[in-house]
Subunit: 249 residues, 2 copies
Amino acid sequence: MEIPKSHPRYLSLTTREKLVKGVREGLAVLEGLIAHGRGEAFDYILGEKSHDFALEAERAAVALMKLAEHPVISVNGNAASLVAEELVELSKTLNAPLEVNIFHYSKERVEKIAKKLEEFGGTVYYRGDAVLEGIDHARRIVDSRGILKADVVLVPLEDGDRCEILKKHGKKVIAIDLNPLSRTARMADITIVNNITRAIPEMIKFAKEITKEEAKEVLRNYDNKTVLKRAIEAIREHLTKMAEDVMNA
Amino acid sequence: MEIPKSHPRYLSLTTREKLVKGVREGLAVLEGLIAHGRGEAFDYILGEKSHDFALEAERAAVALMKLAEHPVISVNGNAASLVAEELVELSKTLNAPLEVNIFHYSKERVEKIAKKLEEFGGTVYYRGDAVLEGIDHARRIVDSRGILKADVVLVPLEDGDRCEILKKHGKKVIAIDLNPLSRTARMADITIVNNITRAIPEMIKFAKEITKEEAKEVLRNYDNKTVLKRAIEAIREHLTKMAEDVMNA
């Protein structure tokens, strides 16, 4: 259905359509739409912009991947539906291969996501020939060339389980999560509290600029706990402002 | 796919499955899943419970419907997927017919939702033989026996447009919306900031208890602006508490 341009939430609704298209194409699943909605709500109470704490985390994330031996970018159905082309560009800029990893597993969907990334010229691992011990659903399946041997993994839009198991296997984890209170956000080494559609293009820019020397300096000064605290404070401040609008209306 | 019971968000995920089932049955649409996710996020930052301001609004809503001449309960795909049986019970208790009204319109979906409500013994209007002027999408279509002549309409899980047009046509609007900052929440006469799966059963209980005299008293003391303010404050307080947990972890 055509969304009328007069609708006050036109932009938000058309963005949703991107993910709905991803579902129709078999990249994302129905549950992924609900997860996207959760993210939308947090983006809304954050003011729908890239805050300074997000940019700081993005720069630190790029720095960590730049200095890593085997950085890998994990891609699920939502990420592929929203920013496939941008993820490929980030992957190339950082020399970090892409690996398909999905919660609601099907071989067909893995292949569709891989194909979508390959269409943009990405190097994609999806062999699923290894296992991360200690995780009891489909996402234990990984690629021996990718996440299994990775030292740093970027996991956009992931859940707490996934993050936890990667940590247990000694990997540094970078999460993109609009909920600064989530298990993922709290467990990651670097948490980017931002919309993935803004974060990835910003990370590409940082990846093109930053030198290895600068990367070391950035990481020396980075404190993830403070970043999370600032994110929560930003929500509280934005809510206070909005509450004033409600009361003065 | 089976969600493992060990998953920390097992309950939230199984609730999602209800709506996913609604989509598979043709009651809800993909966009409705995203909207549900937005609600989930607000429920989460509200602490996933019925606050005093929600109970107060529910009681006032029941009072308003009890005293109305033609109260109607508007039902969309998400509401039907989550609380069809409960909506029928509320409808019977308050003698307020149900009317199917959906944003992403199809005759087939209207009939499926009506059938689902009728299965539980509900009186359902869905003739679509009248129009609410001033609204430019499918939800302008209403039933001449229902919303067209209603003086009070309960619109669970609706958008701002819908609420606005009902107000313009002189109707009192009761909204159920987990986002206290939304246009719907701010435009409604009574705003229930609560999860529909908790709100409707609570409203049934109130509807069985309240007398007409009590209803008048409840409405005399009700102030929706204060209810919204308390909801926003509850979010801020809950976030502050959660932020402390994050920082002390």
